[in-house]
Symmetry: C2
Subunit: 212 residues, 2 copies
């Protein structure tokens, strides 16, 4: 009932005529891209991160609210503080990746709405309720985490996104203002030796999609 990557060619032949995206891009972002578990020593530059951001910033969020905030963990001291709070399996990866980014939601994103959603001057006041604001921040920052992962791949790099860490502790370490929440940590770099586990099966179309 599930498909593995080995079946891709047949599926491609059947459905890719319906894609406008070219095959190289489809492979780079989706079909051949993999979550890396080891990385080479090649550094990830600020210019690469900037290129990723300037691409993925255009992807949509609710009312253009863009709550994602990104902390690039570059100093050895900051790296050590982060690794301490990663889950056991993730510690070696996060210790050795060329670059690690903490991705967080800004719970005060509504303060930016007069600037990023000027078409509706009342937008900021819609988010006076803290719980509703937090919920929107989480959802939209999570959408942006997905865009960011694909942006890393668009730069020809491998991403290693992780949720296995002590999110409260990372939030306290890296966002002491109490207005941001760490949602994911992403290792970034060129894949190293043995970077890939075996490709895991995906659910069939009929297991996911129904029609009413």
């Amino acid at each position: 009932m599930t498909q593995t990557h080995d079946d891709l060619t047949e599926l491609e032949a059947q459905f890719t005529e319906h894609l406008q995206l070219d095959a190289d891009a489809a492979d780079l972002l989706f079909r051949e891209a993999r979550t890396a578990n080891t990385f080479s020593d090649e550094p990830v530059t600020d210019e690469q991160v900037r290129a990723i951001y300037e691409l993925v910033k255009w992807a949509p969020t609710s009312m253009n609210n863009q709550p994602l905030r990104i902390v690039l963990v570059r100093s050895p001291e900051a790296r050590a503080r982060l690794v301490e709070h990663m889950g056991g399996n993730n510690k070696p990866k996060t210790s050795t990746a060329p670059l690690v980014a903490v991705l967080a939601a800004d719970d005060d994103f509504h303060d930016e709405l007069p600037k990023v959603f000027p078409v509706f001057p009342g937008a900021r006041d819609m988010f006076a309720d803290e719980e509703m604001r937090r919920s929107s921040a989480t959802m939209n920052a999570t959408l942006q985490i997905a865009y960011f992962i694909l942006g890393v791949r668009a730069a020809g790099l491998a991403a290693g996104p992780m949720t296995g860490f002590d999110a409260d502790a990372v939030t306290r370490e890296f966002f002491p203002d109490g207005k941001h929440r760490a949602l994911a940590v992403v290792n970034i770099g060129r894949p190293g030796d043995g970077a890939w586990f075996e490709r895991l099966p995906r659910l069939d179309y009929d297991e996911v999609v129904t029609t009413v």
Copy 2:
């Protein structure tokens, strides 16, 4: 402090050398793609949706858990039931889009883990706690919503993702089993007359990214 789409050319010249993704794909998925507010009459076929799914299914989720479930709302009766619960501004769009999809999280995704994450037989039992399971379902289904939006664009179609609807009511209408939660509704089709609002500004790199 913010950039509009008019500034893209200068930024492109500065940073796109760091992208491996070709310019046509970057434009199709991110830079030129827009949230559509009107649609043409051209139908969206099941084959197009299948092509979208066969592309985006490869994007990563935590432990490959793939909690996203998609309901294609094709019958006029189902469309009417959905439109009733959409926010006022969204009713006309959802009434007229060639295809509307309800995107939901499957809170019982853990039942699929023995199949989709066979490398760790204990995976299903890690999610015995309902609140933790629900949290993982929400986060990972939201990542998959972002992948789906970009997949719609990869098919040369415009997406109109919306969170402005009565989610509890839509969940009750379309998922009476009590094990799924509607997270987003997406209008899908070719853009119609006046499909685009003015492009809204994005946050500057320095407003989003910091380094420690």
